[in-house]
Amino acid sequence: MNAYVGTPTSRVDGRAKVTGAAKYAGEFSAEGLVHGFVVEATIPRGRIVRLDTSEALKVAGVLDVLTHANRPSLADKDEAWKDEVAPEGSPFRPLYDDLIKFNGQPIALVVAEEWETAKFAATLVRIDYEQDGFATDLEAGRGSAREMDKPHKPRGDAKAALAAATLRHEADYLVPTEHHNPMELYATTTVWEGDGKLTVYDKTQGVQNVQKFLCGVFDKKPEEIRVLSPYVGGAFGSGLRPQYQVVLATLAALALKRSVRVVLTRRQMYGLGYRPMTIEHVALGAGPDGTLDAVSHEAIAVTSRYEDFSRNDTGWAEQLYKSPNSHSSHKLIDLDVSTPCDMRAPGAASGVCALECAMDELAVALKLDPVELRLKCYSDRDQSEGLPYTSKQLRECYARGAEAFGWARRNPAPRSMRDGKELVGWGMATGVWEALQMPVAVRIVLTANGHAEVSCAASDIGTGTYTIVAQVAADALGLPIENISVRLADSTLPQAPVEGGSWMAASSAHAVLGAAEDIRQELARLAKAIPGSPLANDAADVLLIDGMIASEGKNGAAVSIADVMRHSKLERIEKEKLNQFAEDKSHARNTHSAVFAEVKVDEELGVIRVTRVVSAVAAGRILNTKTGRSQIMGSVVWGIGMALHEETVMDHRFGRIMNANIAEYHIPVNADIHDIDVIFVDEPDSRINRMGIKGLGEIGIVGVPAAIANAVYHATGKRIRRFPITLDKLLD
């Protein structure tokens, strides 16, 4: 029964969030809680030669200043510092030694009775450095890029096909460094429970990942550390790996045997991960009719000197479009910066941005409508693997999106459409992401009063996991959603991976189904075993519906769950189940979208407004049309930021970020956002998983920056290939 799945159900955690009752990591308190404030390095590379904490320690209320020189023990093997999503390399260890690896690196933690005191005393810590030569400039270092050993399957001979193509388009597109900037500051409250036991409230996308990590770093037994993050104030990938504040808060708690809270400042959060600046070189070769002969995509991206972070920027062109020849490569440049990390649609947001701008440039050169070009290159099979898709309704996305947008009324000539003194531009792009799924376990406790508690270690970072888990459980157990309570994000709960990659909806929903199935079978067994029960001699299977156990047989017999449990003298039925998806390599699994954008550009001032966006998404079954629409809409806002606003700017003379705050690092504000129309294209998929779920976290951003860049070209006739497209670039 689907009373809730597929409906616009309001968030079950809504009331907690609008009343201020929802507590985030830095808001938990404890007896005798003290506060840590981080001191950061101000050079990008070198060594600490003197770290003088004597003045700071003289401040009344300061309890300690932890540094590499006086800290408690930390693990000395890389293996202990590698969390479940760590890239290759040697992870950063805060306060480990005197080496400086990036500007903004934490080098001391001042701990005081009050936060203000710690913050003041942190200004009194004196540090002398021996600075080494350093490099932070990707473009200057382009020649030193090294090829990553990434699996990619070249098809044919792209180089020769490009040389022979009737029409060629080739260009570099630059996606700058971008920071996640979740609204919540990174924070950890580590509660000292005595005897070395710790309860850690952390801002993270994976409590069990952090729990295992802390056990490794501090040589603790699993039962000694419990990690919770019941509410997470946004993360967008920045909380996939344990961040350094969780190490520092825990280190201080162990050093002082007290509960410690560490909250990073907004500036300090620029010392965490980010979307790496990437030069995307795309070359397309086509025949006169608009069919592709060759696609080539080479990416050159930033990583740190200590870890190799890379994602799939370049594989999308090979997979998406029909082309007999293809080539891709991914190169890295090691710089004196912190390691990049996943940020909403990592790889795809940047790579597909370049690809889809290039496709638009090709369409212009071919004098073809941009949608028409995509349709000419359309493939019903994954071109890289030669596999059919479990489902792919991208064609329908183009059709529905174009219709809702009014694309047919577009005059293809640049600068041909106007609204008063504003030039109007219409652009479009394709989006693509993977449909991943992971093992997740769920426990359901059904009580005789007809309530069920559903629990799992998964996080809800604002994505709506609490709500979809409640919806799926309510339907599977035949109970009203008000009777379902959901507990998440506690490391002691059943297993879940980090919440990322758009895999949590499918993964958690099927785990709920599995546990609910065991409950149903148990109830059926009990109901049939009660002498004189209406189901006593019924061989038919049962359904759970409206609080009843109902026979699927012809007589329609039913008994209430409450009655069966009472007769069976059971207060509760508890079932825990780990759901694993059967491996199936026979089909490709992807979500797709078609994005249409309208911009209006002030001809004299260059001011760009994104006045309309239509995003038509094919992503399997949508569990919740209300929260799902919000997720896509929010992603579109991210895409607008990526296209027009977001850029972390480095001063390469000092190797330091110049706009490490949330005023000079521009993200869209309310006045920047106008009409956003989200269309979910029907995409039944009985192959991918039982419920046909694909996930929505990333797909909404992919393609949006390109659609806007293409619209800017259409409005102005100017092709801007360095993102973000700021007005100075249009006025040049």
Partner: protein, 161 residues
């Protein structure tokens, strides 16, 4: 031995959500930290501490302010309304209900500031249409990108007030 003293504490009174609260605070304590750390009213959020994001918005004597840019001692005697004070006797404020109805948040971290800011906006009576709401709500950042839903929620509350 500590020989650098911190500033002397100053006694102040705040009327927070209708309740008189006596506090002794150092002058460098912001209204935001006084609410969160001293009064344990953590509904008011810290997102930047620099007046850039609006997550800390509360109503001071009915006007919306960034509590991170306000020293608590400057507000001696003031009436402060935080997100915890908007619901009355368990009934949500119309804006709170509208935010749920329109799914005007995802992670929820900017939400208390958005709602307090919107309450201030309604009291100002300056916003007449969606464009003006967008402009006058632009001091409250939402990284989840719920802006269109926030505007719809405020329009709902406006039409019913």
């Amino acid at each position: 031995m500590a020989d650098i003293t911190i500033p002397e504490r100053i006694p102040i009174n705040l009327v927070v959500n209708g309740e008189r609260r006596a506090l002794e605070l150092t002058p460098w304590t912001t209204l935001l930290d006084a609410l969160r750390d001293r009064l344990e009213l953590t509904g008011t959020k810290k997102g930047c501490d620099h007046g850039q994001c609006g997550a800390c918005t509360v109503l001071v004597n009915g006007r919306r302010v960034n509590s991170c840019l306000t020293l608590a001692v400057m507000k001696d005697g003031a009436e402060i309304t935080t997100i915890e004070g908007l619901a009355k006797d368990g009934a949500l404020h119309p804006l709170q209900q509208a935010f749920i109805d329109h799914d005007a948040f995802q992670c929820g971290y900017c939400t208390p500031g958005q709602i307090c800011s919107a309450a201030g906006l309604l009291a100002e009576g300056r916003a007449r249409d969606a464009d003006e709401i967008r402009e006058l709500m632009s001091g409250n950042l939402c990284r989840c990108g719920a802006y269109p839903n926030i505007v719809a929620a405020i329009e709902q509350a406006m039409s019913r007030s």
